[in-house]
C-alpha cells in the first residue's frame, strides 16, 4: 500500500463528497484528485522522477494539499516546510535535501527568491497566487496555473512501499536541522494505527489549524482522506473567534490541538456561546496537557472524548491514553498504539520492568528510515533491536512507567526545548545569536511558561562597546529563525557560569 492510495480509494468511493473546506470554499474528493493528478503530470513533464524530492513551502491551503498528493503521485517524496521558515534556513534545507521542485506562494517570495539564488537542485519553482509568469528562457519559475496546463499526461511511477514518501525536517541538538526520512510503509503504518485507535469515521469533520509542515497537521489530512472524512483546513489559530465560527458552521467533530492552542481557546470568555455540540473528539500531542488543562477541557466539552498522546517526528506517534483512563491517571500519555511495541531501557540498553524510569524505545514499521545523509545522527537514534537484523528507535525521551506499564514523560535526554509544541534546539538559537555582531557568548534555555509550555530565554555577553536592547536581539533572531524559535526573553549579563573545563554551564540559568 502506498500513502496516496488511501486517498485514491476514497476518491473511488465518493468522488462527489467534500474532502476539504478551506477559506470558505468546498472541494470534493474528485476535484482534489483531478488537480493532484494533473499537477503530478506537470511535475513529470518538468523532469521530476521517482525518488526525487519535492519541497512544499506553503501555508495551509488547497494548493498545499494538492501539491502533497501530486508529488506522491509523481513518485517523489514530499518535503513540507513551515511557511515561517526564514531565508537562511530555507537555503540550508533546499541545499541539504536537494529537491527537484519547489512549490510555494507568491506571498513568500522574499524568502524563496533568496534561497533559490543559492540553490542548484530546484529545476522548477511553481508559484501559487501568481496569475501568470512570462516565459523567460532559462527561468525556473512558473505559476501554478501555467504548470497545471502542462499536466495533460500522468504516468504512474513504479513506486513501492520502501520508497520515501516524505522528508520532514526537525530540530537537531547539533543545531543543524535533520531531515527525517519516512517511507510509504512508515507513513501508511502510522496513519493506520492512529486512525484505528482514534476511531475516525467517514462522517467526521476534522479541524486542522496546525501547519501541514508539522506532522501532526499533515496527518490530519492524510488520515482524514484515508477515512473518507471532511477536513476543515485553517491557516492558523491566530484569530480563535474566527476558527470557532467555522467550527460551529461546519459542525466540526474532531479538534486536534496542542496545549498552547487549548490555552488560547480557554481564555475566550464567550466560548460557551458557541454551539460546539457536534464535537466528539479532542486530541492533544506535542506537549503534555497539565492536569488543570485536562480538567478545564473536560468541563467545557463534557460530551467530547479527550485523547492525550505522545509522539516524535521520527515515527510520527508512539502512545495514546485510552480516554477511559483519563480519570485514573490523568498525567499519563498511555501505552503503545496498535501494531507497535515500546519499552524502557537503562543507560546500557537493558530492558526495564514496569515501575522504572528510562529511555523509551520504539519498535514498529512506522520507525523512520533514518536522517537524510546524516549517518552519525541516525546511528544515535536507530540501534539494533532484540531481533537479529532489526533496528529500533531510541527516542531520546526519558519516561517512567507505573506498575501497569502506563507511561509518564519525565524529561529529554538532551537539552531540546519544547515551546508551543515545537522542538527547538538551543544550539540553533545560539548559532544565530553568535552571528549577531558584538555577541561574545550565548546560552539558551527553556523556562516554564503557562501558555507556551516552555519559553525560550537567552543569556548573552557582549564585547566592549556593543549595546543592544532585549527587543533588538529578539528582532534579529526573528529575522533568521521561525517565530517560535526566537527568544521570548533576552538578558545581557556580564559573564556566564562556566564548568572547570571552561564550557558554559547552563544548569542554574533561569
Amino acid at each position: 500500500m502506498l500513502l496516496h492510495q488511501f486517498f485514491e480509494a476514497s476518491v473511488e468511493r465518493h468522488p462527489e463528497k467534500v474532502a476539504l473546506i478551506c477559506e470558505g470554499r468546498r472541494h470534493t474528493y474528485g476535484e482534489i484528485n483531478y488537480l493532484a493528478t494533473r499537477l503530478a503530470g506537470a511535475l513529470q513533464h518538468l523532469g521530476v522522477e521517482r525518488g526525487d524530492r519535492v519541497a512544499v513551502f506553503m501555508d495551509n491551503a488547497l494548493e498545499a494539499v494538492v501539491a502533497i498528493y501530486a508529488a506522491l503521485k509523481a513518485g517523489a517524496a514530499i518535503m513540507p516546510i513551515n511557511a515561517l521558515t526564514k531565508r537562511d534556513k530555507l537555503t540550508y534545507i533546499l541545499n541539504d535535501a536537494r529537491p527537484a521542485c519547489l512549490l510555494t506562494h507568491q506571498a513568500l517570495a522574499d524568502v524563496w527568491r533568496e534561497a533559490l539564488a543559492h540553490n542548484k537542485s530546484v529545476r522548477a519553482c511553481l508559484i501559487a497566487g501568481e496569475s501568470s509568469t512570462p516565459a523567460v528562457s532559462g527561468s525556473r519559475r512558473l505559476s501554478l496555473a501555467d504548470a497545471l496546463a502542462l499536466g495533460g499526461h500522468h504516468e504512474k511511477p513504479l513506486t513501492i512501499d520502501q520508497d520515501l514518501a516524505g522528508i520532514i525536517y526537525t530540530s537537531g541538538s547539533t543545531g543543524d536541522p535533520k531531515g527525517v526520512m519516512l517511507t510509504h510503509l512508515n507513513m501508511v503504518t502510522a496513519a493506520t494505527s492512529v486512525s484505528t485507535y482514534l476511531g475516525l469515521k467517514p462522517d467526521d469533520v476534522i479541524l486542522c489549524v496546525l501547519p501541514l509542515a508539522f506532522d501532526y497537521g499533515l496527518y490530519q489530512v492524510l488520515m482524514g482522506f484515508k477515512t473518507g472524512a471532511t477536513v476543515v483546513l485553517e491557516k492558523s489559530f491566530a484569530f480563535p473567534v474566527k476558527v470557532l465560527e467555522t467550527m460551529v458552521g461546519e459542525r466540526v467533530t474532531v479538534f486536534p490541538g496542542v496545549p498552547t492552542i487549548f490555552s488560547l481557546l480557554m481564555n475566550i470568555k464567550t466560548l460557551p456561546d458557541y454551539d460546539l455540540s457536534a464535537l466528539r473528539m479532542i486530541t492533544n500531542t506535542a506537549a503534555a496537557l497539565s492536569e488543570q488543562h485536562i480538567l478545564s477541557l473536560r468541563e467545557l466539552f463534557p460530551w467530547a472524548t479527550l485523547f492525550s498522546m505522545y509522539g516524535l517526528t521520527e515515527c510520527k506517534r508512539v502512545t495514546y491514553l485510552p480516554p477511559e483512563q483519563l480519570d485514573v491517571r490523568p498525567t499519563s500519555v498511555g501505552k503503545g498504539m496498535p501494531n507497535e511495541e515500546v519499552w524502557l531501557v537503562d543507560e546500557h540498553g537493558n530492558r526495564l520492568p514496569n515501575g522504572s524510569t528510562g529511555e523509551l524505545v520504539i519498535r514498529g514499521s512506522h520507525v523512520m528510515r533514518g536522517y537524510w545523509e546524516k549517518p552519525r545522527e541516525t546511528a544515535e537514534r536507530l540501534k539494533p533491536g532484540p531481533h537479529s537484523g532489526e533496528m529500533v528507535l531510541y527516542s531520546g525521551d526519558i519516561f517512567r512507567t507505573d506498575e501497569e506499564g502506563y507511561l509518564y514523560f519525565v524529561a529529554r535526554k538532551d537539552d531540546i526545548i519544547k515551546t508551543r509544541g515545537e522542538k527547538v534546539s538551543p544550539r540553533e538559537v545560539e548559532n544565530v545569536l553568535y552571528s549577531l555582531e558584538g555577541v561574545l557568548e550565548a546560552a539558551v534555555v527553556g523556562v516554564p511558561d503557562p501558555v507556551l509550555g516552555q519559553a525560550i530565554k537567552a543569556f548573552v555577553t557582549m564585547q566592549p562597546g556593543y549595546r543592544y536592547s532585549e527587543r533588538d536581539v529578539i528582532k534579529y533572531c526573528l529575522s533568521r529563525l521561525e517565530n517560535f524559535m526566537a527568544p521570548k526573553y533576552v538578558v545581557v549579563v556580564d559573564a556566564l557560569p562556566k564548568t572547570d573545563t571552561g564550557k558554559i554551564k547552563k544548569t542554574g540559568l533561569r
Binding site: 501555508d59 511557511a83 515561517l84 526564514k86 531565508r87 506571498a107 513568500l108 522574499d110 524568502v111 491557516k235 492558523s236 489559530f237 491566530a238 484569530f239 480563535p240 473567534v241 474566527k242 498552547t260 488560547l264 475566550i268 470568555k269 464567550t270 508551543r420 501558555v451 507556551l452 527587543r471 528582532k475 534579529y476 533572531c477 526573528l478 529575522s479 533568521r480 517565530n483 517560535f484 526566537a486
Partner: protein, 79 residues
C-alpha cells in the same frame, strides 16, 4: 508603533494594507502580544469578538479599529 511586533525578515517593504498573516509578519502568539500592547497603549479593552483579522491584520485595519474604539470611549465619557 508596530516596530515592537514586526517579526523581522519579511517586513522590509510592508505596505499599510498588507495582511500580517499572509506576509508572515505576525503569528498566532504575536497577535496576543499585539492585543495586549494596544490595550495598554491606548487604554482600551479589546473584546474577544473584536479579535478578528478585519480589525487587526494590517496597519490600516488597526488604525481604523483603534480610532473607532477611541471615539466610542470619548462618546461614553461625554455622556
Amino acid at each position: 508603533m508596530l516596530d515592537n511586533f514586526i517579526m523581522g525578515g519579511n517586513a522590509d517593504d510592508l505596505k499599510d494594507g498588507d495582511s500580517f498573516m499572509e506576509r508572515h509578519i505576525i503569528d498566532s502568539t504575536g497577535f496576543i502580544e499585539l492585543i495586549t500592547f494596544l490595550e495598554q497603549s491606548f487604554g482600551i479593552r479589546i473584546e474577544d469578538e473584536e479579535m478578528i483579522p478585519e480589525n487587526l491584520d494590517s496597519l490600516n485595519s488597526i488604525e481604523q479599529f483603534i480610532s473607532h474604539k477611541l471615539k466610542a470611549v470619548a462618546t461614553a465619557a461625554n455622556k
